[in-house]
């Protein structure tokens, strides 16, 4: 399943590099040259990397590309993004565009790439280009091209939509040997909604399996885009790059000249820099902004002074002023990214715009899970780490939670599964925390007997059965694109996950789009992994929330030696309760070490036991040898045994190892 993993990792970082909290033991000391990569990390290669923070880093590039800071008439500005499926070559293409326009020297890029590999390894995440201003001369006329990068995952579709809103055009890059994927499709539709001019690009035409004609036809059929003059290129081989640059100039409309209007700048990304505060990336839509301007963020009304403004090329380079149509960054001693949210509008304090730019919305977590430190002493560290991450991630929500089995931890809300994975990964790798992660859950709506409606994302907080009338759960519409060979297995998967079949369309002779509606809860587990494995990696998917529906849901409790284990409680569909209960009790029986007494392990709905296992008592645990009075070894063994017990959580009188919880939680992710 390399494809799925890689594709997930590839979008791990939608934030540029900020100096990492140096907690990892092996991290090189600040200021010391990073060592060469010793082992290949799992991170995908070949991405343009851009060091966002230090202005000094720009020094080496300024000589070669100083002219790209020069202003061009607004009619010569082109703002565009690249829409592509993971591995379809977006990064390589971006590399080549930067190289060909002289924004980054070839030699430099290589160095940058290597250096950043180390940084990637150190931070455990991949870093990607955020935005790049390029200067391109066509017919002796200088143009300013701004490439604005977009996150590639559905979890961040809001962020994607804001990036698209900052552009007038988009390159649609499709792998000529593969074809259109669901993710790409979703983003193309978003781009069309934003009235972007779309330039189709068929990439990887140098590959032996490339079928540009078939793929061009596919694009025409699926998207309805004229592909008669689609550019055929190989970013890797540098074929067709000039054609792309020319098309950017000729096809994409320039921004409207509204530089005389009151300032409105759209934030399309922001990140937290521990030294300078939040750095906001924006596109000036109307008016202009100068260094030192007193500005105002329209969503929260907060005021700041723009201490520094500049452009990204791709390093941060300071400028004095940015006009309508230009793309840049600013820092204004903003303490948290929540104060400079993506989608917010920047205006002048003294000359406010009449209305904010449309499309701003608050982040709403869709998926929840509990995060508990394995070592209870790490609770405070976990809190600090979450707070730090939140500085940079306004969509991350958390609140303290305690559980008898897991101790103290946090209930966290995420935009989606990938977002959840990123946060977990960063907590573990950057902050050295060992976490237990409960099965992800969704927000249920409980209609209570008294007419009240309660939202509940934590199974252990579900109102008693007597107090509730019904439970509703969020449903998603899921669109899957697959080669026709895998239609069967994929429909089976969707059916298994309580999916309701909606539609199947053959988009070409050999590929189909299958649409299902199914509960989000069924998707938050391993659905994506399953989809990939059942289609040998070929299928892709895309989903969107379609609302809440009533379901026959029950709360499944696990009892160990008659003690309920809250952390293992789950909300499941009645029809699945028995098989889930059986799987969980069996797993626990496997993983809980035998105790000095018999231990019943049960799965219950309310008071009714629906699955039951019994762990037999230990027969014997005796070290009879104690030779020549040498008790040290024996004592060591006993100490080790005592340590082992300490690592376990006591559920009543039963010692349950952490691994048992983790395995069950993992199982819950799989079977639920």
């Amino acid at each position: 399943m390399a494809t799925a993993t890689a594709s997930r990792l590839a979008v791990l970082a939608q934030r540029p590099l900020t100096p990492a909290p140096r907690r990892r033991r092996n991290a090189p000391a600040p200021g010391r040259a990073p060592s060469r990569p010793r082992a290949l990390s799992a991170a995908p290669r070949g991405r343009v990397l851009c060091l966002a923070a230090p202005a000094s880093a720009a020094a080496s590039t300024t000589d070669a590309g100083q002219d790209r800071l020069q202003k061009v008439p607004i009619s010569n500005i082109r703002n565009f993004c690249i829409i592509a499926h993971i591995d379809h070559g977006k990064s390589t293409l971006a590399d080549k565009l930067l190289e060909l326009t002289g924004t980054v020297q070839k030699r430099e890029m290589k160095e940058q790439f290597l250096d950043n590999m180390d940084l990637e390894r150190e931070r455990g995440i991949t870093i990607k280009l955020q935005a790049a201003r390029m200067r391109y001369v066509m017919n002796k006329e200088p143009y300013c091209l701004n490439l604005i990068d977009t996150p590639g995952h559905v979890d961040f579709s809001y962020e994607v939509s804001r990036s698209l809103a900052a552009c007038e055009g988009a390159l649609l890059v499709v792998d000529a040997s593969q074809g259109v994927e669901a993710q790409t499709l979703a983003n193309v539709y978003l781009a069309l909604e934003n009235n972007l001019e779309i330039i189709p690009v068929l990439n990887k035409i140098d590959l032996p399996g490339a079928e540009p004609d078939r793929v061009a036809q596919e694009i025409e059929e699926i998207i309805g885009l004229d592909c008669s003059d689609a550019i055929r290129c190989s970013a890797k081989e540098g074929i067709g790059i000039t054609e792309i640059l020319d098309a950017l100039v000729t096809k994409i409309p320039p921004p409207k000249d509204t530089s005389k209007d009151p300032l409105r700048a759209l934030i399309f990304d922001s990140y937290y820099d521990p030294y300078r505060g939040v750095i906001a990336y924006f596109r000036v839509i109307d008016g202009s902004i100068k260094k030192g301007d007193k500005i105002c963020f329209m969503a929260n009304g907060k005021e700041y002074v723009a201490d520094e403004i500049g452009v990204l090329s791709p390093n941060q380079m300071q400028v004095d002023e940015l006009y309508a149509g230009e793309v840049g960054y600013l820092s204004a001693s903003i303490r948290s990214v929540a104060d400079a949210r993506v989608g917010d509008t920047i205006t002048h304090y003294s000359k406010k715009a009449a209305a904010a730019l449309p499309g701003y919305s608050e982040a709403t977590p869709m998926v929840f899970c509990g995060l508990f430190p394995i070592d209870a002493d790490q609770f405070e560290e976990l809190r600090e780490a979450l707070e730090k991450l939140q500085l940079n991630d306004a969509a991350l929500k958390f609140e303290p939670e305690s559980s008898s089995a897991m101790g103290f931890g946090f209930r966290c809300g995420f935009l989606g599964l990938l977002h959840m994975e990123i946060v977990q990964e960063r907590l573990e790798r950057e902050y050295n925390l060992n976490l237990i992660i409960t099965a992800p859950s969704v927000v249920y709506r409980v209609n209570c007997a008294d007419g009240e409606t309660v939202e509940c994302s934590n199974p252990s907080l579900l109102p008693e059965p007597g107090k509730r009338r019904s439970i509703e759960e969020p449903y998603v519409k899921i669109e899957m694109l697959t080669p026709k060979d895998y239609i069967g297995p994929i429909m089976e998967l969707a059916q298994d996950r309580r999916g309701e079949f909606k539609e199947m369309i053959f988009i070409t002779e050999s590929r189909a789009k299958i649409i299902y509606e199914l509960p989000l809860a069924e998707m938050v587990g391993d659905f994506f992994d399953q989809l990939k494995s059942r289609s040998k990696g070929y299928a892709s998917m895309e989903y969107s929330l379609v609302g809440y529906r009533e379901s026959q849901l029950v709360k499944l409790d696990i009892q160990i030696n008659a003690e309920p284990v809250e952390a293992l409680s789950t909300i499941v569909h009645r029809d699945k309760a028995y098989s889930v209960g059986r799987a969980l009790t069996q797993k626990l029986k496997e993983l809980i070490p035998r105790q000095m007494f018999k231990v019943p392990i049960q799965a219950c709905i309310g008071t009714k036991v629906i699955a039951s296992e019994a762990l037999s008592a230990i027969r014997k645990d005796v070290l009879s040898k104690c030779y020549g009075g040498d008790i040290t070894r024996k004592k060591k063994l006993l100490k080790k045994q005592a340590e082992g017990k300490k690592r376990m959580k006591a559920i009543g009188r039963v010692d349950v190892p952490q691994e048992a919880f983790m395995a069950v939680l993992k199982l819950e992710k799989e079977v639920l």
């Binding site: 027969r619 014997k620 645990d621 070290l623 020549g628 009075g629 024996k634 006993l638 005592a642």
Partner: protein, 497 residues
């Protein structure tokens, strides 16, 4: 800072020189004397006085590492010297083996350079020659070691001098010689009474030699005290075989029986077989050891627990006291040397890989001959110093718990509470409470009479006078003993949370 000076030993059975001709004593001898000691200690000894003078060891362990070959389960520091034939004891060749002579010389040097802990003239009450197979060492050399010990530390009028002997390594004359030089207790490593079991665990002797050896030992004049050593849970051992071994043991009428439960240790042949069977099966290794691939013939935990229970039952029926997890004795014949260990009292040790406990410091000697020789040299040169990392309170408490709970006398709560604090004693009792209820642990009064478990709970509620009624706790026989690791490690968790 706390050293051995700890008065922990005071509550345990006091040391009494054994009679020259050990006679069976009343069954409750230890219990009665221990109680007496406690009452005196309650009145006289202050809680944890670190100023008490160090106790002088009155026991010495001497390691004689030579074996014909290494048994499949063995991970002790031994030196395999081989033998000319599998059947006939090769006494002559062995006696001349320069390795043995060289080693004993080294041993004598270690004795000579070891200073007695105090000058108060406390003589050695017990000496234990362990191995290895000490019976491979010529009696004259054993005598030399005994003489050296006598000269250095003194030997009491009637010490217990034990030696481990393996069937097939001695005859009547050799045993007579040993008794002649002062050995008065034999620990006979029989292990099993079944030819195939002996072979499959790599013993250097067969059943015939076992019977011969038992005959020699029982017929030896001047030797009343001997132990039959058995191993349970050997590969391919069945319940019938185990019953047979126990029957043969009882018939041989030893004064003492040790029953060791087979442990598969890493680095032993059994350990290898285990790995090969379960991790990376290499058929040639199994065939080499005579095992069928895919079948690990070890008794299951259930069977093995059953063996333990059977031993406890059969030997008790035959009049043996189960006084320690793996030791049984006729009344009055408990191994006094081993009691030193269970009572957490100090002891000297000499020889390869041996562990001493002097001035509160446990020290294990190098396990390789070359390193041991170098160590002795350093000792002589005065260039060796042991960083005397004296054990802290927690370690002390763990030692007391793990050692005393191995015995039938159990843990003295009052003394424990005095030494380590009432709160630790209380939390220990609270942790054990469910197991007192389930019968794995027995609460006993001052007279070491078992108390109903309700009394234990009541005593716990009266925190003020813990120990007023419940004076001792012990592991029950056989159920508590069988789970001793679990129970003791629970106690460790209380001591070092």
């Amino acid at each position: 800072m706390l050293r051995l000076a700890f008065p922990l030993v005071s509550h345990l059975p006091p040391w009494k020189p054994p009679p020259i001709r050990p006679r069976p004593l009343p069954a409750r001898r230890y219990a009665a004397s221990a109680t007496a000691t406690i009452s005196s200690s309650t009145t006289s000894s202050p809680p944890s006085p670190p100023s008490l003078p160090p106790l002088s060891p009155s026991s010495a362990y001497v390691h004689l590492p030579f074996c014909r070959k290494r048994c499949h389960y063995c991970d002790f520091p031994i030196v395999a010297i081989g033998s000319s034939s599998g059947t006939a004891p090769s006494r002559v060749e062995v006696a001349d083996d320069p390795r043995i002579v060289d080693y004993v010389r080294l041993l004598l040097r270690e004795v000579a350079v070891t200073r007695p802990v105090s000058d108060d003239g406390v003589p050695l009450e017990t000496v234990f020659f362990g191995g290895g197979t000490p019976s491979l060492v010529p009696p004259l050399l054993v005598a030399a070691v005994l003489d050296a010990l006598r000269g250095r530390f003194g030997l009491s009028a009637c010490p217990e001098v034990s030696i481990e002997m393996d069937p097939g390594t001695f005859d009547a004359a050799k045993l007579r010689e040993l008794v002649g030089v002062g050995v008065n207790r034999v620990s006979l490593g029989v292990q099993a009474f079944q030819e195939n079991l002996l072979r499959s665990c790599g013993r250097a002797h067969g059943v015939e030699e076992v019977h011969e050896a038992v005959g020699i030992v029982t017929a030896c004049e001047g030797l009343q005290n001997w132990s039959m050593d058995l191993i349970s849970s050997l590969p391919n051992q069945t319940e019938e075989m185990w019953e047979e071994s126990l029957r043969c043991t009882v018939d041989a009428r030893p004064t003492h029986v040790s029953v060791y439960d087979l442990q598969i240790e890493q680095g032993t042949k059994f350990g290898q077989i285990h790995i090969h069977l379960f991790c990376a099966p290499h058929i040639h290794v199994l065939v080499q050891f005579g095992y069928t691939p895919g079948v690990f013939p070890l008794p299951s935990d259930t069977e093995s627990a059953n063996f333990y229970k059977i031993a406890s039952k059969r030997l008790s029926e035959a009049g043996y006291n189960h006084y320690e997890i793996s030791s049984y004795s006729k009344p009055g014949y408990g191994c006094k040397h081993n009691l030193t260990y269970w009572q957490n009292r100090p002891f000297y040790a000499f020889g390869l890989g041996s562990a001493s406990y002097i001035n509160g410091v446990r020290y294990s000697r190098p396990r390789r001959m070359k390193e041991y020789a170098e160590w002795v040299q350093k000792l002589e040169d005065g260039t060796w110093s042991h960083e005397s990392r004296s054990s802290d309170m927690k370690d002390m408490a763990m030692d007391v718990v793990m050692l005393s709970l191995r015995t039938a006398w159990g843990l003295d709560l009052q003394s424990f509470s005095k030494s380590f604090g009432k709160s630790m004693a209380l939390s220990l009792c609270n942790t054990f409470k469910p197991f007192v209820e389930s019968g794995l642990i027995i609460a006993m009064d001052m007279e070491r009479q078992a108390l109903p478990h309700m009394d234990f709970g009541l005593d716990l509620q009266n925190e003020g006078d813990l120990g007023s009624k419940v004076a001792f706790i012990r592991l029950s026989d056989p159920d508590g003993f069988l789970l001793s690791n679990e129970l003791i490690s629970l106690a460790f968790g209380v001591i070092s949370p």
